[in-house]
């Protein structure tokens, strides 16, 4: 009967109840939806970064990360390759690379770039480059003179597929090495900066140009979506001598890791701001409802209800209000995420701004059970806590003073 009474009491002033229900529903909706958008941005940034030559984790010669020069390459990658084979990583992909700083130039332009020597077939399964070539063709294994150049660099260099591009870099012997390549294909990337920074040649061509023999700069490993790279990193570290360094994407991308943590903090602050606004509405509504019914609470006390019973009565009413508002807010959020989930929110109009912030051009919300649960628990727990104030006010009334009210 308590629940029935609470339900009927809610609708004694239906307009007021609808107003506060709308406030709770909109609040919960915004908490879940904005949370999903922020999580979506974070997830996409991680995915894009991982696909942009970072991978889930990388194996280097110790010192390479601090000074990524040709001297710090792994002379013989067979040892880490054997370790990768021994560590059981279902559905993991890996690829060897040579990566050095270089100068790219043609007749009219030159620019600093990162020269990446890749194994085209393996690399396609590890990074974005496999599906990013939009003009020309991809690299073939061992391709001696083919080079893939980003669309933005092609624009800057006023060049095109089939034209020459000369790369210069320091070779293993300390001398300057240079080689003329032919632009085999042009690639597109999520960020324009990526298109300007990287040029890709075959691993064999890079090793030959730099005199590395079988040496590679890094081995990038891509784990299936959502897999935690830490256990694999620990297993590899245990299987390899100390001269190798294993770094996960979190260590390779400290700025992104910090951004994700900041994202979580912003979400928590957002939850709090929304709740404070909502909380005042809940307190106000319940206080009005309680003051209107002081005589009834007095009657209940006179009939033998304890103050605790009155608190429970008001909290049940508040809980019902919150539950209905939360159900509506959740339904709205799920509907909104489903509606924009397919095409996302296109921020291309602000491309320069979002790229500067390192954000994707199209945001896809990522609705997670944990995120939705967090928002709902925030509203539910804090909602009941703030409801205690009017509930205690109602419980403190004495029967005689309450019944004396007109």
């Amino acid at each position: 009967m308590t629940l029935r009474m609470a339900w009927r009491n809610l609708w004694r002033n239906s307009r007021r109840t609808m107003v506060i229900l709308t406030a709770v529903a909109v609040g919960v909706f915004s908490m879940i939806f904005i949370g999903a958008l922020m999580a979506g941005v974070g997830e996409q940034m991680i995915r894009t970064s991982i696909a942009t030559l970072v991978g889930s984790l990388q194996i280097h010669q110790h010192g390479y990360r601090d000074d990524p020069v040709v001297e710090n390459t792994m002379e013989d990658p067979s040892e880490p390759q054997a370790a990768l084979a021994s560590v059981r990583m279902p559905d993991a992909r890996w690829s060897r690379r040579v990566r050095v700083s270089a100068v790219a130039g043609n007749a009219r332009h030159s620019a600093g770039v990162s020269l990446v020597g890749i194994e085209p077939e393996r690399e396609a399964a590890v990074s974005f480059i496999g599906g990013a070539v939009t003009e020309g063709r991809g690299l073939s294994p061992g391709d001696p003179y083919g080079i893939l150049v980003g669309r933005a660099l092609v624009g800057t260099f006023e060049t095109r597929v089939g034209r020459k591009l000369v790369l210069m870099s320091q070779a293993a012997d300390g001398e300057m090495a240079s080689r003329a390549f032919t632009i085999a294909g042009v690639f597109r990337a999520e960020l324009e900066a990526t298109e300007k920074q990287f040029v890709f040649v075959s691993l064999a061509a890079a090793q030959e140009m730099l005199g590395l023999g079988e040496g590679v700069s890094e081995i990038a490993v891509l784990l299936p979506d959502g897999a935690d790279p830490d256990p694999v990193a620990r297993a590899l570290a245990a299987a390899l001598p100390e001269r190798y360094e294993i770094l996960t994407w979190r260590e390779l991308l400290p700025m992104l890791t910090a951004y994700i943590e900041m994202n979580d903090t912003f979400t928590a602050i957002w939850y709090l701001v929304v709740f404070i606004a909502m909380g005042f509405g809940i307190i106000n509504t319940l206080l009005m409802a309680v003051f209107e019914r002081m005589r009834e609470f007095g009657l209940m006390r006179a009939l033998g209800m304890t103050p605790g019973g009155i608190v429970r009565e008001v909290l049940v009413e508040s809980g019902l209000l919150l539950a209905i508002g939360m159900a509506a807010g959740n339904a709205l959020a799920v509907a909104a995420v489903a509606a924009i989930g397919e095409n996302g929110i296109d921020l291309s109009a602000f491309a320069a701004g979002v790229e500067y912030a390192g954000m994707p051009r199209v945001i896809y919300p990522a609705l997670s059970f944990a995120g939705a649960l967090e928002a709902n628990l925030t509203v539910w727990v804090l909602g009941l806590i703030v409801s205690l104030y009017p509930a205690l006010k109602a419980a403190r009334i004495t029967p005689v003073s309450a019944m004396a009210r007109v």
């Binding site: 009967m1 209940m300 006390r301 009939l303 209800m305 004495t398 029967p399």
Partner: protein
């Protein structure tokens, strides 16, 4: 056996800086099964003494014993427990819970007592039938007349099987026909169920129904007549 004993009960209300004495040392005892009226003009202290007998308020001095329980030795929770199980109330302004139907209003006290749902429904229906409200179980207070609402209030007081029912001017808001009808019901309950009834009134027609008439004037017992 005395159901209610009041000894030298004093109660003074404070209205700003002015002290208003409501009871100036009332001594009174009501026996089990009595049908007693506390009569007197407005402001004589009838409602105050009923509130004190019901444990809704505390006296400034004196002693109140109801059903063998000394109020001055009881906590607020103990008094609430006593009200729940031993005392029924009927108020002048009906005081039903507006969102509950007649049946649910009668069930309400039994719900607080922890009576199982089926039992309390059966008892509530039976008592509503006894007060002449069969077929009106599902009506909410706004759908009932004043007389019918007061009958629901009596049914609510009786259904919880109390030792005593305290009724504060139960007929004051009713016309004479409904007032007399309500008194007939209360008297019938008093005789059938042997529940002690104490009610306040300033209506002479109502006083005629009482088997004992305690006249209160200026916070004191002015007269005490057993018929």
């Amino acid at each position: 056996m005395d159901m209610v004993i009041c000894r030298d009960v004093v109660k003074t209300y404070q209205q700003g800086r002015i002290s208003v004495p409501a009871l100036r040392g009332i001594s009174l005892s009501i026996e089990k099964g009595e049908f007693a009226a506390l009569a007197g003009p407005s402001g004589s202290g009838k409602t105050t003494i009923l509130n004190l007998m019901g444990g809704l308020d505390a006296p400034d001095a004196g002693e109140i014993i109801v059903d063998g329980r000394h109020f001055d030795r009881m906590s607020a929770a103990g008094l609430a427990e006593l009200r729940l199980h031993r005392i029924g109330f009927v108020f002048q302004a009906y005081n039903l819970i507006p969102v509950l139907s007649a049946l649910e209003n009668v069930e309400y006290v039994m719900l607080l007592q922890g009576v199982p749902a089926r039992d309390r429904r059966e008892r509530a229906r039976a008592v509503l039938d006894e007060v002449g409200l069969s077929g009106m179980y599902d009506r909410r207070p706004p759908e009932l007349s004043g007389g019918q609402q007061q009958r629901v209030a009596v049914a609510r007081a009786i259904a919880a099987e109390p030792s005593i029912v305290l009724a504060d001017e139960p007929t004051a808001n009713l016309d004479s026909k409904n007032g007399i009808s309500l008194l007939e019901i209360m008297k019938e309950m008093n005789e059938k169920k042997e529940v002690t009834f104490i009610f306040s009134t300033h209506d002479e027609r109502v006083m005629e129904y009482a088997r004992r008439l305690v006249m209160i004037r200026d916070g004191r017992v002015a007269d005490d007549v057993r018929k």
